[in-house]
Symmetry: C2
Subunit: 236 residues, 2 copies
């Protein structure tokens, strides 16, 4: 069974939702038969690389919150994160574009290090003082810590076309599947879960998708097949 | 919709079956929504890299055919290939191990050049005089012609571990899905087609799988989601 998770590094509910999903998956009896793929969803797609701003001022300016509302929202997120055992800095975080991080995550997926890099990016963004935005060296340190070759990762960052098509394709698919926000979880392309729902909701979705997973119905034809005993020759 | 095709470069029915499948796909109304992925299946898995032998003597020695039977089998395959417009040398081809080619095909998949490389490997093996076995320079020429970076392809060939796990995983999945030979086609993990069946069989399978393709049922929860309008804060 395959679970695809659309998310953004700048999305606090994605950070929290991933932990809730993983709690459910960790207790799921068929967890070893579940493949998890992380997909890209930029919350702020056109944002220039050097357009970095404190989260709290982004919330007041872009969404018209009062300072008190913005702080209360961050406090609430901090509490929800803490309930999942996740560190979260409710003050002093930055907001910025995440395209380069998504490109690196696609590169990491090819190398089998996607979830390692994603976890490090989340932790760096939500829990550590040094900003992840506008700092390629920071991203390369994280890539190295995730087990990636830093020279290869540097080449990915330096080439804006590298893995950009993959990011766009993920976003196109998210829209096609009806995702209006993230996190967005899709199980076997049959069951979707929108948002950082409680672990029990993920458990139900995993169980339901597992029970309904497609069984293969195979059309066996004549003899036109090659196997360990050679290539059969049909009667002509 | 996703179609996975397990095959081996040394498998004549795979070469023919791919053409039949593509004929059906080319006429399928939803062809632009069909993603095709080629997967590895070594017909002769443990075969040493330098263990190369003429196809006809392999057929007589390994499968105990008479020379006349072996030649008749090749003539039949040549006729089936010709009916699909595919060139096929019925005499003088070699047989050998294909692990390195499968490793290269996984590398090519990452670079978006898988089908280009597969087509060139098939053509080289079935239609051209120079053997594809035991000749790294030949494989690198084909990789270059498929649009791959030949230095990177050379590094893949030089490292026996590169993409070897991916080849093994493909083979494990083929066994799990019940493939006893190749070509083996799997549509959305729900419909299988075994063998180089007529195009009409593929058309029926495509139509059936398309009509039965999963529609997404999404659980929308509370507000714990981030979207273009910011991250909603649930009432607490």
């Amino acid at each position: 069974m395959r679970v695809e998770i659309w998310s953004d590094i700048a999305c606090p509910w994605c950070y929290v939702g991933k932990a809730r999903f993983e709690k459910a998956l960790g207790e799921f009896p068929h967890r070893d038969d579940v493949e998890v793929v992380h997909r890209s969803f930029e919350l702020d797609p056109g944002r220039a690389k050097d357009d970095i701003q404190p989260v709290l001022s982004m919330l007041t300016q872009k969404y018209g919150m009062s300072q008190a509302q913005a702080e209360a929202g961050e406090d609430n997120l901090g509490a929800q994160a803490a309930a999942e055992g996740l560190p979260y800095r409710t003050r002093g975080r930055d907001h910025g574009g995440t395209l380069d991080m998504h490109r690196l995550l696609h590169f990491a997926r090819e190398k089998g290090r996607q979830v390692e890099l994603l976890d490090l990016l989340y932790k760096a963004n939500f829990a550590e003082e040094r900003s992840v935005f506008g700092d390629d060296e920071r991203l390369l340190e994280l890539a190295g810590a995730a087990g990636l070759d830093t020279d290869a990762a540097r080449a990915v960052l330096a080439d804006p076309d590298a893995y950009a098509a993959e990011v766009r394709e993920d976003q196109r698919e998210a829209a096609e599947l009806g995702a209006r926000g993230v996190p967005f979880f899709v199980l076997d392309r049959a069951y979707g879960v929108s948002g950082a729902q409680p672990a029990e909701v993920f458990t139900r979705a995993l169980t339901q998708a597992w029970e309904a997973r497609p069984r293969l119905t195979t059309v066996e034809g004549g003899a036109e097949v090659c196997g360990p005993d050679g290539c059969a020759v049909p009667q002509t």
